[in-house]
């Protein structure tokens, strides 16, 4: 179906969950949705529209924590980004890894680097950082400072 029909169908089907619909350009659409409805909409886009799960990118804007789930529809050359806003103190959201295995690693990375807790993730353990990295320190947060006292930040000659 064409691009307009597809977007109209999404709008009609999830009208109560969509908070904001931003049609930025012919190839980019940003849809802000309620955090509770992420699994429902993601499954619909991935399974019914045969979209490809591209990636999820976590953003720590100072007032709130944001996650964007990007889905690509090759035939229409369209990229749908579902935006979800969580509160910054205790960001929690339902995990979509059980639905499709492609999202498994990226959620582990976001939980490790940004401190977002994914409920229902198969094995939410560390993916990237060393074992000696202190618990609860999230490097990609805006308010991250250097915790390692003997780190050398100049050339260290």
């Amino acid at each position: 179906m064409t691009r307009e029909e597809l977007l109209a169908d999404i709008k009609k089907r999830f009208s109560d969950d969509i908070m904001e619909f931003f049609d930025r350009s012919p190839r980019r659409v940003y849809i802000e949705i309620k955090p509770s409805s992420i699994v429902k909409i993601a499954t619909y886009i991935f399974k019914d529209l045969q979209a490809r799960f591209n990636i999820a990118s976590g953003v720590d804007s100072r007032t709130h924590m944001e996650i964007l789930y990007h889905f690509t529809l090759e035939p229409l050359n369209l990229l749908i980004s579902l935006r979800v806003k969580l509160d910054r103190k205790n960001p929690r959201i339902e995990s979509i890894a059980p639905v499709f295995r492609a999202a498994n690693w990226i959620e582990r990375e976001m939980s490790e680097l940004l401190g977002i807790d994914f409920i229902g993730h198969p094995n939410l353990k560390r993916l990237l950082l060393a074992d000696e990295w202190p618990q609860g320190v999230y490097p990609l947060r805006a308010d991250y400072e250097e915790w390692d006292k003997n780190a050398i930040r100049d050339r260290g000659v």
Partner: protein, 141 residues
């Protein structure tokens, strides 16, 4: 000691260690083994395991996870062994200096004998660096 070093320099076996690099330098090291630069003329071979290595080629910024293995492998290498840092990342972490995962440069983790700058260094630069190191060691014997 210098008898071993003298013997070592006849045909230095090389062990390549990538501690968090973008594999440009690693591929330039492998380029040295292929027909065009062919360091086997000088007896330089890739050692199958750390136990046979005479020269340790280190690339990469020694990030936190790799430093643990870097230290362990340096202890496992039979002494006397020479250590050569290849590429900007292993000299002073180059463009990744402020990275939160690279606390200290490589020469704070293991004593480094020769530095070969370049991002990535040309295979000729790696060969000339090794040759200069061998001459320097031979010079002091």
């Amino acid at each position: 000691m210098n008898l071993k070093l003298r013997a070592l320099l006849r045909s230095p076996w090389v062990f390549h260690l990538s501690t968090g690099s973008c594999n440009n330098c690693d591929i330039e090291i492998l380029d040295c083994l292929t027909p065009r630069f062919d360091v086997e003329r000088f007896g330089i071979l890739l050692a199958p395991s750390i136990k046979h290595a005479d020269v340790l080629l280190i690339t990469g910024i020694a990030n936190r996870k790799s430093t643990i293995r870097l230290k362990r492998l340096y202890e496992m290498a039979p002494k006397p062994c020479l250590v050569v840092a290849i590429g900007e990342c292993s000299l002073s972490r180059g463009i990744f200096m402020p990275s939160y995962n690279a606390p200290v440069p490589v020469d704070k983790v293991v004593p480094v004998d020769a530095y070969i700058p370049g991002c990535p260094p040309k295979p000729e630069a790696i060969i000339s660096g090794l040759v200069q190191l061998i001459q320097k060691i031979k010079g002091t014997l």
